[in-house]
């Protein structure tokens, strides 16, 4: 090989190499803002030297390959942390929605309406015969019920929003798995022509997107294809194949190649999906159960006191608001909502004639043996004692019905058994939910009271004379005491996968129970926000590290342009030098 020929070849190769390097630089510059793009570096290397004139002589430069500058360790760490961050971000969004639902600054908030409900009873105690005070109790009671109803409805709506998001996310995950599988296919065929850098970047970007939804694991196979599994190892992508997830009635299922599919809901931990599932299966059910517990306690405790009292007039007929499923069974196991609260005891029914005088020598005394007396037995007992002045029966819905003969009225007193409150006779609130305990959803002011505020039981019947005094507030004073009495209740907690944890018993006033509930929402929200802030700092740091390795620096590329440009110019100069050398040779005559 002649020297000048070698020179020209070397110069030509150098020109090509610098030009190629400039191409790579221009690709880098062009992608400075492309998310997930990794800076590419032309690997310049000397060509294989060749022996010439007894020496090994260099033969110029060659671009061996174009590589991506990435650090797999940092990339994986970043992905994992981003998965956590996405989970926390979604939890934070929903926690702030929860905070808004229990909006404490509003005049319609639960704790405000509860305080005002108690104050309305105080006003009635100050003026038990006042019609407007009775109207206000009804109104405050209704506002309290509405506050419960609307918080409960908001919680349910939040759950259904979460389910919609989860369903949409499952669709996105399937699309991403499919795209990754397609890229695997392209990368496998692209490998033959060197590094398919941009496809690798794209695949990385898709993995990052996928990891935003849930915790995933992935590893590269020897052939360059990527296997992706969920955090617990359910395969999403292997080679050119992807496995789909499906959403069915709240559960995320993994569709394996076999016919069977598996419920993997509780194995999903991070990402948006994990965050949503945490909120849906742990956070909301706990608060909802507590809210129902409070509504249930208010219904029972208020009714228990209300049934001891009497309004300003007797009843001509009344139907209970709670029905039994089995009128022949002992009251304690008859299917009433509050059947477990019934204890052995008795209650009185006073019957009045048209002049308002007590019929007979005193009240009817109905004895209850909670694990023996059935509703049917109770009805028979009343009918036997009443002698036709009042008639008791069980209606089609299993509710106790009492009606007085024309001209007669009746009223109740001294119920030590709790059976009146459990049957919903002479109560203030109604609200029954035997199956899922949604008392907050169904709590309402008893329509009996709504239609006639005279039935708001402010007073008590004089146990010796049977007289009901309009100005008596003995029962309201008991109601007022309820607002500061400690009541045994439970706080509920839920865990994903396990469901309800054993309830935590507390003894507290109704107001304080609510305050603790609201406080716990604040604490949870605060801790989620703190974790999010902390994780965000870590993600930002990792991202910076990743970018410092992989992202494009314009300044650097500019410097590279100059470097390659000068090298290109120099290589061109070599060619013209070779040209001149040829000319010199050819000019020899």
């Amino acid at each position: 090989m002649s020297g000048i020929g070698l020179l020209l070849t070397t110069a030509k190769d150098a020109l090509l190499a610098q030009q190629l390097a400039l191409d790579v630089v221009s690709h880098n510059v062009a992608n400075v803002n492309t998310p997930g793009y990794s800076r590419q570096i032309p690997q310049l290397a000397t060509r294989q030297p060749a022996p010439y004139a007894g020496m090994m002589l260099g033969r110029g430069v060659n671009v061996e390959e174009v590589v991506r500058n990435t650090d797999a360790f940092i990339e994986t760490r970043l992905q994992q942390r981003k998965t956590d961050l996405n989970s926390l971000e979604e939890q934070e969004v929903y926690m702030s929605a929860l905070e808004a639902i229990f909006n404490e600054s509003s005049e319609r908030s639960l704790s405000t309406t509860l305080s005002e409900f108690w104050n309305a009873w105080h006003d009635l105690a100050n003026n038990p015969s006042g019609n407007s005070e009775r109207g206000i109790i009804y109104e405050r009671g209704t506002l309290l019920c509405q506050a419960f109803n609307s918080v409960h409805a908001d919680l349910e709506q939040l759950t259904s929003q979460l389910n919609l998001s989860i369903e949409a996310a499952v669709g996105d995950i399937n699309e991403l798995s499919q795209k990754i599988a397609d890229l695997n296919q392209q990368i496998l065929s692209g490998r033959i022509n060197g590094n398919p850098n941009d496809l690798l970047d794209k695949r990385n970007q898709l993995i990052t997107e996928l990891s935003q939804y849930m915790d995933i694991q992935h590893y590269e196979n020897e052939d360059g294809s990527l296997t992706v599994t969920t955090g617990r190892g359910y395969v999403l992508v292997t080679g050119a194949n992807s496995y789909q997830l499906s959403y069915d009635d709240g559960a995320v299922r993994w569709e394996s190649s076999g016919a069977a599919n598996r419920d993997i809901t509780d194995t999903i931990e991070g990402g948006k999906l994990g965050g949503w599932l945490d909120v849906r299966d742990e956070v909301i059910p706990g608060y909802e159960a507590d809210l129902n517990e409070l509504a249930k306690a208010i219904i029972w405790e208020v009714n228990r006191i209300h049934t001891q009292g009497v309004g300003t007039q007797g009843f001509t007929s009344i139907i209970g608001s709670y029905g039994v499923t089995n009128a022949g069974a002992a009251l304690q196991s008859s299917g009433l909502d509050f059947e477990d609260k019934i204890i052995d005891g008795s209650f009185h029914i006073w019957v009045y004639d048209s002049n308002g005088d007590v019929v007979g020598s005193g009240p009817l005394t109905i004895n209850i043996d909670a694990d023996v007396t059935s509703l049917n037995a109770l009805v028979t007992d009343i009918n036997n004692q009443a002698g036709g002045n009042i008639t008791a029966s069980v209606d089609a819905n299993g509710r106790l019905q009492l009606s007085a003969a024309t001209g007669y009225t009746f009223a109740f007193s001294e119920d030590t058994s709790g059976v009146l409150a459990a049957l919903g006779i002479n109560t203030f609130f109604t609200g029954s939910s035997p199956t899922d305990g949604d008392y907050a959803k169904f709590i309402e002011v008893n329509p009996v009271v709504e239609q006639n505020k005279a039935y708001i039981a402010a007073g008590k019947i004089d146990s010796s004379t049977g007289e009901m005094a309009e100005g008596d507030n003995a029962n309201v004073l008991d109601m007022i005491n309820l607002s500061c009495s400690e009541i045994s209740m439970n706080h509920y907690h839920y865990e994903r996968g396990t469901g309800a944890l054993p309830p935590e018993p507390v003894s507290t006033t109704l107001d304080d129970y609510l305050h603790t509930l609201e406080g716990s929402i604040g604490i949870k929200s605060q801790s989620v926000t703190r974790s999010r802030e902390y994780t965000e700092v870590i993600v930002n740091q990792l991202e910076r590290t990743r970018d410092n390795i992989s992202a494009v620096s314009i300044d650097e590329e500019m410097a590279n342009i100059i470097k390659y440009q000068h090298a290109y110019a120099a290589a061109a100069k070599l060619i013209s030098t070779g040209d001149e050398m040829f000319k010199t040779l050819l000019d020899i005559r």
Binding site: I521, R544, N548, V552, I554
Partner: protein, 308 residues
């Protein structure tokens, strides 16, 4: 160390985001005047605030209750005082009429006067607060005492009951502000036609006195003096008892004022922003924001591209 162009922009964005967030939070505190704007701002503090809020509402309600109670007690006290005066006047008249120098016609005139006193006391016994009778037990919508002139001899019937009307002035504290009328004027369960019966009943006493005066019956008048002493004594006890209850309400009122002040202060300490501090926070955040903007603008302008 190598710094990517993206890192530079990201840093600017992240820092500006952070400073903006802090600034918004600080300005929220300033504009709302509250340190706690959401549940999560300070959950423990918030639980205390909620507790204080409901305590405050309760205390304000108790204030109302006490005001109602005081109006009842004052009305009762003033009625009892007037009854006391009338009974004292009646006694003076009795002493005068028991004197042997008085003739039948003077005594007949005095009987008319006693009848007037009886009716005044009857009116006072039916004293109302709002539209409610305070000496009627809990039968507050029925006039407790009613003069039945149709029966012979005339009698005064009690239509109230024996449970005095009470109010709640604090946890488990009920105060009787109304009265069972029989406690003051004596019960009506005796034979009204028997002059010797029902000596404890004020109205029976006055009716007996009236007929003694009409009949010029000096013994009867003298007996009435003894009875009147008993009534006056009883009313006197009632008046001092009412005074004790009023003092009880006053003391509770004072306690409630202190509690209210204390609750309001604690609530404000927990909930309200220290405005000076908050404004300073906001200003320092604004300065930080401006500085961040200025430095970002400077740094972002620089590029090698400009020099090529």
């Amino acid at each position: 160390m190598r710094v990517a162009t993206k890192t530079m922009y990201d840093n600017v964005r992240i820092n500006l985001d952070r400073v903006t967030e802090e600034m918004v939070r600080a300005s929220n505190v300033v504009s709302s005047g509250k340190r706690i704007n959401k549940l999560s701002d300070d959950p423990i503090g918030l639980v205390n605030v909620l507790h204080l809020r409901s305590s405050l509402k309760n205390v304000e309600q108790l204030e109302k209750n006490i005001a109602v109670g005081k109006s009842w007690l004052r009305a009762g006290e003033s009625a009892l005082n007037q009854i006391y005066n009338i009974l004292s006047d009646t006694k003076a008249l009795c002493v005068q009429m028991a004197n042997g120098s008085q003739g039948a016609s003077e005594r007949a005139n005095a009987a008319v006067q006693v009848d007037g006193y009886l009716r005044q006391i009857l009116a006072l016994a039916n004293t109302q607060v709002g539209s409610r009778y305070i000496f009627s037990g809990t039968n507050t919508s029925t006039a407790p005492f009613e003069l039945d002139e149709g029966s012979s001899p005339p009698q005064v019937n009690y239509n109230g009951n024996s449970t005095p009307f009470s109010l709640n002035i604090g946890e488990g504290m009920n105060v009787e502000v109304g009265r069972n009328g029989e406690e003051i004027f004596g019960d009506d369960n005796f034979d009204w036609s028997d002059p010797g019966a029902g000596s404890m009943n004020v109205f029976k006493g006055l009716l007996d006195l009236k007929s003694a005066l009409q009949n010029n019956d000096v013994d009867g008048i003298q007996e009435a003096i003894g009875r009147l002493d008993v009534y006056i004594d009883r009313i006197n006890n009632m008046i001092s008892n009412t005074g004790i209850k009023e003092t009880q309400l006053d003391v509770k009122w004072g306690v409630i004022q202190d509690l209210k002040l204390n609750y309001t202060e604690r609530k404000s300490e927990l909930e309200d922003a220290d405005i000076t501090q908050a404004v300073m926070d906001l200003t320092s955040r604004q300065t930080a924001y401006k500085a961040a903007l200025a430095s970002s603008a400077k740094v972002m302008q620089l590029s090698l591209v400009d020099y090529l």
